[in-house]
């Protein structure tokens, strides 16, 4: 028996682990984008109280929030192929189920999971936008979609950003469960490497360090963006060159 704890291995294995970092980031990124788009759609349906759809969406959100991510991943992994087989049997098509990589299942499952949480975050952010500004846009003759894109979303984004940042961090960590869909990302790579030397403890420490660093980077990036999009506290006056001003006061 060698050393109880091999500190060197914690760091020497990091480069090999990082080979799979792109997979983790892609998974998280794509799932986040999917989650945001679906979440926005669900949020708008809930705000507009579209009959029928709202109830369906409430049901979906409740189901997703009420079940663990790992169970959802398994359901996607087994369920999607079954669905395709059903389609093939039913319509006599020949959709190649086996060609779909596990990566896709993981993105779908994580994205759906994310959308349920994003929907609530986005809904509250959209509703935080002052109704009067929406009326003002409407009074100018803007359509709802124009108002949404140009007036509501930029403001809602600022409100939702910190919470969405947390979601992104949590999804980064959820990707460690993607091995259930046969995706080799950071954590799966760690297990593979550890399997060679039986140094599991050291490898998990390396993984912990990597995830932690990613999280810190995301936190800082979110802070930077928040600062960037905030309305500045003060702006200089423009020189009133051609102004025939009715202005007396400056306050």
């Amino acid at each position: 028996m060698g050393k109880l704890f091999d500190l060197k291995l914690v760091f020497t294995s990091i480069p090999e682990l990082l080979e799979k970092l792109p997979i983790t980031l892609e998974l998280a990124g794509l799932a986040m984008v999917l989650g945001l788009l679906l979440g926005l759609l669900m949020a708008i349906i809930k705000i507009k109280k579209i009959k029928g759809l709202t109830q369906i969406i409430n049901f979906i959100i409740s189901a997703i929030r009420g079940t663990p991510v790992i169970v959802q991943l398994y359901i996607a992994f087994f369920g999607i192929p079954m669905f395709f087989k059903y389609l093939n049997q039913r319509f006599g098509t020949n959709l190649a189920v086996a060609d779909i990589p596990g990566f896709v299942y993981a993105v779908v499952a994580l994205g759906l999971n994310q959308s349920a949480f994003c929907a609530e975050i986005i809904r509250s952010a959209l509703q935080a936008v002052n109704e009067g500004q929406i009326e003002a846009a409407q009074a100018l003759g803007m359509t709802y979609l124009q108002t949404l894109r140009r007036i509501i979303l930029p403001q809602a984004f600022e409100v939702a950003l910190p919470t969405l940042g947390n979601s992104l961090i949590s999804i980064i960590k959820s990707t460690s469960l993607a091995f259930t869909c046969a995706v080799v990302e950071l954590t799966a790579q760690g297990r593979i490497i550890a399997g060679r030397s039986y140094r599991y403890f050291e490898l998990y420490i390396s993984l912990a360090i990597i995830y932690w660093v990613i999280t810190i980077i995301i936190e800082q990036a979110i802070k930077f963006i928040e600062k960037k999009i905030r309305i500045p506290d003060q702006v200089a006056l423009l020189p009133a060159a051609n102004s025939r001003s009715v202005e007396e006061e400056h306050g």
């Binding site: 002052n130 500004q133 100018l140 003759g141 423009l238 001003s245």
Partner: protein
């Protein structure tokens, strides 16, 4: 010319507007006065289709718009050709004064950015806000915000400008600057519907005054007629109460 016909609106059982008929000639400045809760604001909001009434038709430029419908091309036409100034300004918070005025020009009028910027600067200049063009609403006082809101509305060159108590949310000392700008806009020949509690201002800027009570027009005439020789008992009572307030508490 704008013609409003059969405009009725109720909230549950509360009738706010009761079969209103109103014809507004081009260039008219119509002041709408009356006690609180008589549907003055609702009237404007229905004309701009921010509220959907139970019944009502608006004739405008040979077009007939059914304002009881939820959406449609005519309704967009109506909104694009009427401008609204709100009591609480409602400037777009994430946009500068200039961008606020440019927004409608770019999105609705499909102007190029340069053209929109030029027009917007002219309008801001008109309301005395051109040197504040790069300021965000939160940097501006209420009076300044309302002047930008006015510029935003008139930049669209509306056929009918609706002003919903434009000075009610302002500190007393800021009311004057906004009224000055409204007077200027009125002198340019804009057709306006003005709801206001500034009786003296309405009297001087409007060429026609309407007194609204319980959702009906009970008085309609020139400012002189309405303010000096009101025909209706309700109107007389309203003015009596108002003049009572304006009287000094003590005379030595």
């Amino acid at each position: 010319m704008v013609k409003i016909e059969h405009l009725s609106k109720k909230y549950n059982d509360n009738i706010v507007l009761d079969d209103i008929h109103l014809e507004i000639k081009k260039g008219d400045v119509v002041g709408i006065i009356g006690p609180s809760g008589t549907g003055k604001s609702t009237l404007l909001r229905c004309v701009n289709h921010l509220e959907i009434p139970e019944s009502g038709v608006i004739h405008m430029d040979g077009k007939t718009v059914d304002i009881t419908r939820k959406r449609g091309r005519e309704l967009r036409y109506l909104q694009q050709h009427t401008g609204m100034v709100f009591q609480r300004f409602y400037l777009f918070e994430k946009k500068t004064a200039l961008e606020n005025v440019m927004e409608g020009l770019i999105v609705v009028k499909k102007m190029s950015k340069e053209e929109a910027k030029k027009t917007a600067m002219q309008e801001l200049d008109k309301v005395g806000m051109s040197s504040w063009a790069n300021h965000y609403p939160k940097h501006l006082s209420g009076g300044q915000q309302q002047r930008v809101a006015l510029a935003r509305a008139i930049a669209m060159k509306p056929d009918l400008l609706l002003l919903d108590e434009p000075t009610s949310a302002l500190d007393p000392e800021l009311v004057g600057e906004v009224l000055d700008v409204i007077r200027k806009v009125a002198e340019e020949g804009y057709t306006m519907l003005l709801v206001s509690h500034e009786m003296n201002f309405v009297r001087h800027v409007a060429n026609r005054v309407i007194f609204l009570d319980k959702g009906r027009i009970v008085e309609d005439g020139t400012p002189k007629e309405v303010f000096e020789r009101p025909k209706n008992e309700r109107t007389r009572e309203f003015f009596r109460k108002m003049y009572m307030m304006n009287q000094p508490e003590y005379i030595i």
